[in-house]
Symmetry: C2
């Protein structure tokens, strides 16, 4: 397909986010020792990745998060710096790239979150986004006075109300509320600074926010849940959806569904950006890519790969035959709380079913729950182009195997191919994340009617 | 007194914090328009003040805070950027100076706060401090689902338990928990990463923290309450006390009391630093200083000064005779909730009583509730030296009238005088805030006994 054909198929260009998951998406990354084992606690590590990403004109960098120590710290780096403060540091080491921080709607108060993200939006000059998560899992709950996580339905009901409150707080100062006339002494027009007087099932919040309206109007909202609750929440409130989709068909179906849901809320579906994750292991040749993958796998053996399948389906690895298909009959019987996230599980099952994969084959096609591509820059560019042009994605959340080499290869080798095909910008055309993503400035719900 | 006499009287040197209160401590500062009326939302404004302060080798910059919009936004700049994210930005624009962020123990969860400050401590290379406040006032409460603020006693009981939890979380990774051996795959020693399993009246927190131990061991703790609850809390947990003291005698008495209280908790009293606030209006001559003060006062007339007295005692300004003493008999009858903070009220009453001041005289001796000095650099240096040498203070929280000129004058004119007298450093000798303040590295409560 020629470049002109490509660029005629869709208006605009794809969005690209760089997901900084510790040392990289591959659990062996820290052992390759491209950086020191303490690097994940060092702001310079993140600033370096962000600057490389910005060199490639990427839309944003992204930090996942959860308020609990996860994993076995004897074997893997544990803990993470809190994303809003870390991304403040990163924003100030960059000029254009957006910063997407994850924070929990279950274990925070809306006033605090609305304020912190509005502050980050001010400090970054309009580059802040909040990835809203509700945090399944008991470990987080037990750090906040609960024996276990609230029910899924309750977490999402709270999240819905949380976002309603946050949006009202972000709108509580109208765009032109500040007069700022030192001579006359008029600071703000009090008719344009609103109490929100919210009283709901979960929250009562008077407002107004104690931060005036931020450069983007409000921070960009990202949502990542693929359950029914997650899809309802995301299609209603989010500007971008991070999702795990492992086959083109599933990606297209999810894309169609979410756009339709957005329209159902009275929204313009164009302004809900669908961004599946893609894990990458890139080499100049296929052989090089597979050698890189093998080197990473060598640290934990093939067992590490099989473990990720076992963990998602909730059946111990030692009870699985790697060369057999998934034990479909047993999977249905596993209780929900023994499995990983619903979206990750389904994406994995769909891939195995559609391509009739053995467990071993499946284990080499996913990484941290997302579709994995081991291959050349051309192959990565091809799959990104294909999904984008086939309306399975508006953009992608890129999860390189290992930092910093993984982001360097992506920016230096994949991005130019996308640019040549007319699918990605050559330079930033806007200054805010909202502009990078092609989203309009939001209308203020309290704005006075003329 | 000669320099040698001065420096012999006390070991060590005084500590100096720079309190960035919006456009300055004087409510007329924004109207003088040294900077644009939106400057308080601009990170560059704060970075500039921090860099000037660092040029003077000050210990820290400080940001007060509360989670509610305060004051009349039609007349005064309203709202503030959230301190932990703002001070992350400031820390990365500086190399040595500490950053003290205020956050509420009443309207936050300990896991979130412990984590955010540990992250800031990592990101700043050991320069983070948390100023713990409990937030009197109903406006904050109404942003968090409450009709009004919890009772004083309940706020402080919660704060006490909050700090106990936070200290455990900060200690939950021992200093040498991380092995970080990529070759063998040993990341951390799991015996040195501790659940805290805290169950109390207000909080149940399992832990461990999901941030390894930070460069200062834990962030420096600052506390500012002068009530009985505040003094008990501060003397038990704090590394530094910010206080309002308006007369030397009261300052000395508070100093003695707090040192004794610290000793009563089994602490070394030297490691509890007492830092009263001092508001400054500085000119090269007394006449210049008073002209500067008059220019600021002109924006709101004398009425603005009288209002600050009226507000603290809870009696409308129009019912007060500026040339009479305080109406002592009425003050006693004013209900507690109509007054300002107990510490600020008492400091003001003590000053009026000790020096037998009229309301007008009193109104010109305090600013934002703190002792005000309008005078020359020599006079400011004299009063700082005097209080320091007379054991009324280990250091000071400086609150200039207006930024940036107020911090420039202090750093360029007052600091050199203190340096010449041997009372203040000529250059930083440590790299962490704890080192600047002369505090030891904290022992980890979970450290394995040999």
């Amino acid at each position: 397909m020629s470049t002109s054909q490509h660029s005629n198929l869709r208006d605009g260009q794809m969005s690209l986010g760089m997901n900084i998951l510790g040392f990289g998406a591959h659990s062996g990354a820290w052992r390759q020792a491209e950086v020191h084992a303490n690097a994940y606690l060092d702001v310079d590590y993140y600033r370096n990745i962000a600057r490389i990403s910005e060199r490639g004109c990427l839309d944003a960098i992204f930090l996942a998060d959860g308020p609990a120590l996860a994993g076995d710290v004897s074997k893997h780096p544990g803990g993470r710096l809190e994303p809003t403060v870390l991304l403040t540091a990163v924003a100030l080491a960059t000029q254009r790239i957006g910063v997407i921080a994850t924070a929990s709607s279950t274990y925070n108060d809306p006033f605090n979150i609305a304020r912190r993200f509005a502050s980050l939006d001010h400090i970054s000059g309009g580059r802040a986004a909040w990835n809203v998560v509700t945090n399944a899992g008991d470990a987080a709950a037990q750090n906040f006075g609960l024996a276990g996580a609230p029910l899924h339905v309750d977490r999402y009901a709270r999240a819905d109300e949380f976002l309603d409150v946050a949006l009202k707080l972000w709108d509580s100062w109208e765009d032109d509320a500040i007069i700022g006339d030192a001579r006359s002494g008029h600071f703000a027009d009090p008719r344009k600074v609103h109490s929100i007087d919210f009283v709901g099932q979960h929250f009562s919040v008077k407002g107004p926010l104690n931060v005036p309206r931020s450069p983007q109007g409000r921070p960009v909202l990202v949502q990542a849940g693929s359950s029914e609750g997650g899809k309802a929440l995301g299609s209603r409130y989010a500007d971008a959806i991070f999702t795990t989709q492992t086959t083109l068909e599933d990606g297209q179906q999810f894309y169609r569904e979410m756009k339709a849901r957005a329209a159902g809320w009275g929204r313009n579906p164009e302004y809900l950006k669908i961004m599946p994750g893609l894990s990458t292991v890139i080499g100049s040749t296929e052989a090089e890519a597979h050698a890189r993958f093998d080197a990473l796998n060598a640290w934990h053996g093939e067992h590490g790969l099989l473990e990720q399948v076992a963990g998602r389906i909730g059946i111990p690895a030692k009870e699985l035959d790697p060369d057999a298909p998934l034990p479909w009959e047993r999977i249905g019987a596993v209780a929900e709380f023994e499995r990983g996230s619903q979206g990750f599980l389904e994406a994995q099952l769909n891939l195995a079913r559609r391509e009739n994969l053995s467990i071993r084959q499946l284990s080499r096609r996913i990484l941290v729950g997302h579709r994995l591509l081991v291959g050349t820059p051309e192959q990565v560019a091809d799959t990104l182009s294909h999904w984008y042009l086939a309306h399975a994605a508006d953009g992608f959340n890129i999860m390189p195997d290992m930092f910093p080499s993984g982001v360097e290869i992506f920016v230096d080798e994949v991005v130019p191919l996308l640019q040549r095909r007319g699918l990605f910008r050559h330079e930033y055309t806007g200054s805010t994340l909202r502009e990078h993503l092609g989203l309009p400035f939001p209308t203020n719900q309290y704005a006075l009617r003329a």
